[in-house]
């Protein structure tokens, strides 16, 4: 049972499938909003295979070992985080305090992303890397505080307990609407999507830290980012969009999938509708508005607990 959970559902294969599906849906939704048709369903898969088979160029001066290990570290930490994020109530493993481990593992890709810029010694890579670190400090603080809300409310740092608590009462997004919004904004920043795609803004820093990566490494980077999208969305669904009192096991899956697609729709619409922020605007927004609002939300949660 455990190997099945690790490798097939809700492990690697399922996540891979979701990553491809979500990335296609995302591109498709954005295209539809812009009045275009958008790519066909196999597009992310074709991109992935093509990148796998392309030549792998190493820039002069780049650290060979680091630049091949970093994308793997990024992917592995996302996959490890996925072990503890339940899909429709099923997770590979769970223990008291797994939420904290998941949050830590989900912020590893930001660090590897910065280091990727650092080891590949390109001008754009280094600027992009620094931008990503600055962005990290702006979104991560409100994101962490916002995610602490459900945990404080249910009195447990175990994701399964938080889901169960919402099953008894109501959805976290209803008790903490502000926290949910902040978590979505934080997730957008974490995934470096429009409008917070400052570290990889094409018109400013070319490809950001990934400018000098090609071939297999680029494929792994893209896969890690797509999987991070999936795991991040699943995490938000678990923490804010509640469990179900009546459905368990397989029947719960369609409901869970609908909720996840709802969050994806929010992310895609945000990308399609808003223009990119400048880095100083983001830093101001993050520390002056998002973080205090997140603290306010936690204060309200503490008051609700009495």
């Amino acid at each position: 049972m455990v190997p099945f959970r690790l490798l097939v559902y809700p492990g690697f294969l399922f996540l891979f499938f979701c990553a491809m599906l979500f990335s296609w849906l995302d591109r498709r939704i954005i295209a539809r909003v812009q009045g275009r048709v958008g790519p066909p369903w196999y597009q992310p898969l074709a991109d992935f295979i093509k990148l796998l088979t392309k030549e792998d160029v190493l820039t002069t001066g780049a650290h060979a070992l680091a630049s091949s290990v970093l994308p793997m570290v990024s992917l592995v930490s996302v996959l490890t985080a996925a072990l503890y994020v339940p899909v429709a109530g099923v997770s590979a493993d769970s223990f008291d305090g797994d939420l904290i481990v998941v949050l830590f593992l989900l912020s590893m890709p930001a660090l590897t992303y910065f280091l990727a810029g650092w080891v590949s010694v390109g001008v754009y890579s280094i600027i992009g890397g620094h931008r990503s670190l600055l962005q990290y400090f702006s979104y991560e603080v409100p994101f962490l505080i916002a995610l602490a809300g459900p945990a404080v409310l249910s009195g447990s740092w175990r994701i399964a307990d938080i889901i169960a608590y919402q099953g008894h009462t109501i959805w976290g997004a209803l008790t903490q609407p502000l926290g949910f919004l902040l978590a979505v904004v934080g997730l957008i920043g974490k995934l470096k999507r429009d409008p917070l795609d400052i570290p990889k803004a094409k018109s400013e820093v070319v490809g950001g830290p990934l400018t000098e990566f090609s071939g297999r490494k680029l494929a792994l980077w893209h896969l890690a980012l797509d999987m991070q999208t999936v795991v991040g969305i699943f995490l938000l669904v678990n923490l804010f969009l509640g469990g179900s009192r009546f459905l368990t096991g397989l029947p719960a899956f369609p409901v869970f999938a609908l909720k996840a697609l709802g969050v994806l729709l929010m992310l895609s619409l945000a990308s399609a509708l808003y223009a990119r922020l400048r880095i100083d605007q983001l830093a101001t927004l993050g520390s002056r508005w998002l973080a205090p609002l997140a603290l306010l939300q936690v204060a309200v949660v503490l008051w609700m607990r009495g």
């Binding site: 275009r36 958008g38 790519p39 597009q43 295979i49 392309k54 000098e212 990566f213 071939g215």
Partner: protein
Amino acid sequence: MVDARSTIPNAVKRWTAPVVRWARRKSPWVLHFNSGGCNGCDIEILDLLTPRYDMERLGILKEAAPRHADVLVCTGPVTRQSRDRLLRIYEQMAAPKWVVAVGSCSCSGGVFHGGYNIHGGIDKVLPVNVYVPGCPCRPEAIVAGIAQLLGEI
């Protein structure tokens, strides 16, 4: 098309080759470089991104970094000044890579032909896979050119 890795046994290659070819056909990422044209063709290329032509339907994405791109779409003749840069960008791209010359200038030098600062068309410097003539060429012609390239891959 030479594969970068030759360590894969031939038996495996026979099975994977169709998949790889399919993936390359379905996902050409383009890099656009103007080596000295009048900007007319560049605007036509940007048209391809608009809802009317929507290149993403064909899996075509416009990339900003040479390392990510598969197809170099060149406009304009090669000037003495841009020659080295064009070569450098081409060398930065990861194999397998293709070149499409868009516009009369990049096919032959066009109206700039014989100018004191002009080398000629792109094919004076790089191996060109597909020529798309026109001054400026219509977006439909560019799509047709890229589609022809995809057929040849």
